[in-house]
């Protein structure tokens, strides 16, 4: 365990600005031609709330400039909900009463077929913590099967060693999503009661290992609600820019998972409402013009409709958070979190088109799929 963050992640120098009441300074931050930590902190201030519309306009302009009028689509595929993890906030933590399942190969193929038939080309394969039921070789098998059908295969699984990432890259894996959950080491320790995930530093280092192991993209995020959102979002921004500068050929994406007040029995210590979520997304879009920002189906229809193209450039669609949820052939299993937006792909695309946004199913072609090696520069 560590008591304090390394310098390159520390949000402390900007925390005062995140409480700024200087409306003029916040306006300047929104229109800064060189936004950094300072501007991000100012835009996250509660005082910025009346300027949310201004931030939205600016975020939309920037999103259009870099992504055009398009939204990339992907879908999550839960491989297994076996987990020995002790995450206090999670529906499939080891001490939760959960129906545990892992997809067998036939079920996996059926799920992938269902996803392929729906027209999707990008999938995120998910498991819990490292378990015998869903270990690296199982995940490799799943990636191989997915890569026979789809071009973009991400994993959202337990942190691995570089050699394991290399094996997955060679099997066709293109990216890894690995949320730090929170950058507050104290809260991190409280939230993760046992198991491998207690190792904050190893988790923090995993994106480096993944990129050096041959993956192309890393997805970062904090679970909004666990800690002071301003502090976590500034650290998230610093984490992203650090990786972008170090592995400058790699892709970095950000996601915005959130503990919703009405969800489950875990109460957010620092509740983040929809407006704060929007504020976070707009602020990060303004500070990171070219980084894909993702929004999942955890959010309500209206919020997803509202944020599509306004900061958000990539969205999950028609998600099933149960194992075997797509083909409905596996036995019942417990979901990790609940879905709010249950629209079909067709319905969702109709909404996007009505907003003048073109849904993009494919934005990468496996013809280029050769594991790349990024080197940690000095």
């Amino acid at each position: 365990m560590i008591d304090s963050l390394p310098n390159w992640l520390d949000p402390t120098p900007w925390m005062e600005q995140s409480q700024s009441t200087d409306l003029h300074a916040i306006k300047n931050a929104i229109y800064s031609d060189n936004p950094g930590e300072r501007e991000l902190a100012l835009m996250l201030s509660p005082t910025a709330r009346p300027l949310l519309e201004t931030m939205a306009q600016r975020a939309q302009t920037i999103t259009r400039r870099h992504f055009g009028r398009t939204i990339s689509l992907y879908t999550p595929l839960y491989l297994s909900n076996y987990c020995n993890g002790g995450c206090l906030y999670c529906g499939i933590a080891a001490d939760r009463r959960a129906i545990r399942t892992v997809l067998n190969i036939e079920q996996l193929d059926r799920e992938l077929d269902a996803i392929t038939q729906a027209g999707l080309d990008e999938v995120v394969l998910l498991t819990g913590e490292r378990m015998p039921e869903a270990d690296t070789s199982y995940i490799r098998e799943a990636i191989e099967r997915a890569s026979q059908r789809l071009n973009n295969i991400n994993i959202e699984v337990f942190p691995m060693q570089q050699s394991e990432y290399r094996i997955l890259a060679e099997a066709g894996c293109t990216g890894v999503t690995l949320y730090q959950e929170t950058y507050d080491p104290i809260i991190y320790e409280q939230m993760h009661r046992w198991g491998d995930k207690r190792d904050f530093e190893s988790r923090l280092d995993a994106p480096h290992r993944a990129l050096e192991g041959g993956l192309r993209t890393v997805g970062l995020g904090v679970l909004l609600g666990l800690a002071d959102p301003s502090a976590d979002l500034i650290s998230l921004y610093r984490h992203a820019t650090h990786l972008l500068k170090t592995y400058w050929q790699a892709g970095v994406t950000l996601s915005f998972p959130r503990i919703k007040p009405q969800m489950g029995d875990f109460q957010a210590l620092h509740p983040v409402d929809e407006s704060m979520l929007a504020q976070a997304i707009f602020a990060l879009r303004i500070c990171l013009p070219a980084v894909p920002l993702l929004l999942s189906t955890r959010e309500a229809e209206a919020v997803r409709n509202g944020l599509a193209g306004i900061g958000i450039s990539k969205m999950s669609v028609a998600s099933k958070t149960t194992v075997g949820g797509y083909s409905e052939t596996a036995e019942e299993s417990t979901e990790q979190f609940s879905i709010s937006d249950e629209r079909s792909i067709d319905d969702f695309c109709r909404m996007l088109r009505k907003k003048g946004l073109e849904p993009v199913f494919k934005n990468y072609d496996a013809i280029y799929r050769e594991p790349v090696t990024y080197v940690r520069s000095s």
Partner: protein, 260 residues
């Protein structure tokens, strides 16, 4: 507050680097160097010619206190020649600084990115402190950073053209992505352009022609000193944003005030 420029552990007080070519005579050059407040000047290497022994800058420059010499590789047409020039330069300067410049075309003196990269790889192994003069190419800048260059020096415009920061947008990207200092080298004409470079976040500028070819080089050097200091101060002070059009008519955030 002490706002120094650090290049791989070497500290510079001034953010104005001076080239010593194209001056009418050594006295003018020395006066300009003094007036500029610089502590790093770049010098070229040439064959010794007894008939023009007065061209030897070593003596005059050695008398300037606190001014360090950075040999450059001008005249080198490829990586091999540049490496040789760098080794010779280090013999004389007794310092690790090398301005790596390889411009095979004498008409425009634009840098050869491939030879420059290859030379930098070798010089980095030999522990040089490399400042490469490069096209304003963000990818090349990162590649040079990755192999250990102390800074990158994208051109504002072609050497001696005085076209200013023609490459400003590319330099902006280089600055955003770089972990090492970005120094604009070549193309500047006016102190306001040097100020502009520092306002954008460049860590320093290297100026030669604009000073040497001015009517009064000494006075122009002083003007560049002020320009650089002013631009740096503005960068630190934080420029106000340029204004954008007023907020559009249809609100984007109405979804946040709905009743579910």
């Amino acid at each position: 507050m002490n706002d120094t420029l650090t290049l791989k552990g070497e500290t510079l007080q001034s953010r104005l680097l001076i080239g010593t070519g194209k001056f009418a005579n050594i006295e003018t050059m020395i006066a300009a160097v003094k007036a500029s407040g610089t502590d790093l000047v770049t010098v070229a290497l040439r064959r010794f010619n007894k008939a023009q022994a007065e061209d030897d800058l070593y003596g005059p420059l050695a008398q300037l206190e606190k001014v360090r010499l950075m040999p450059n590789t001008s005249g080198a047409m490829n990586a091999k020649e540049a490496i040789r020039a760098a080794m010779l330069g280090r013999e004389l300067s007794k310092s690790r600084f090398i301005k790596l410049e390889i411009h095979p075309n004498p008409h425009h003196l634009l840098p050869d990115p491939i030879e420059t990269y290859e030379a930098a790889v070798e010089l980095a192994k030999q522990d040089f402190l490399i400042l490469p003069y490069i096209p304003a190419d963000p990818v090349l800048a990162k590649r040079l950073e990755d192999i250990g260059c102390a800074a990158v020096m994208p051109l504002g415009a072609a050497i001696g053209t005085g076209k200013g920061l023609s490459t400003a947008e590319m330099i902006r990207i280089i600055i955003r992505d770089a972990k090492v200092p970005v120094i604009v080298d070549a193309g500047l004409r006016a102190p306001s352009e040097a100020a502009h470079a520092l306002e954008m976040g460049c860590e320093a500028v290297l100026v030669n022609s604009a000073i040497a070819a001015a009517d009064n080089p000494e006075a122009m050097a002083a003007a560049f000193k002020t320009g650089v200091e002013s631009g740096r101060a503005a960068w630190k002070a934080g420029l106000m944003p340029t204004s954008e059009a007023a907020v559009a008519s249809s609100p984007l955030t109405s979804f946040l005030s709905r009743d579910d």
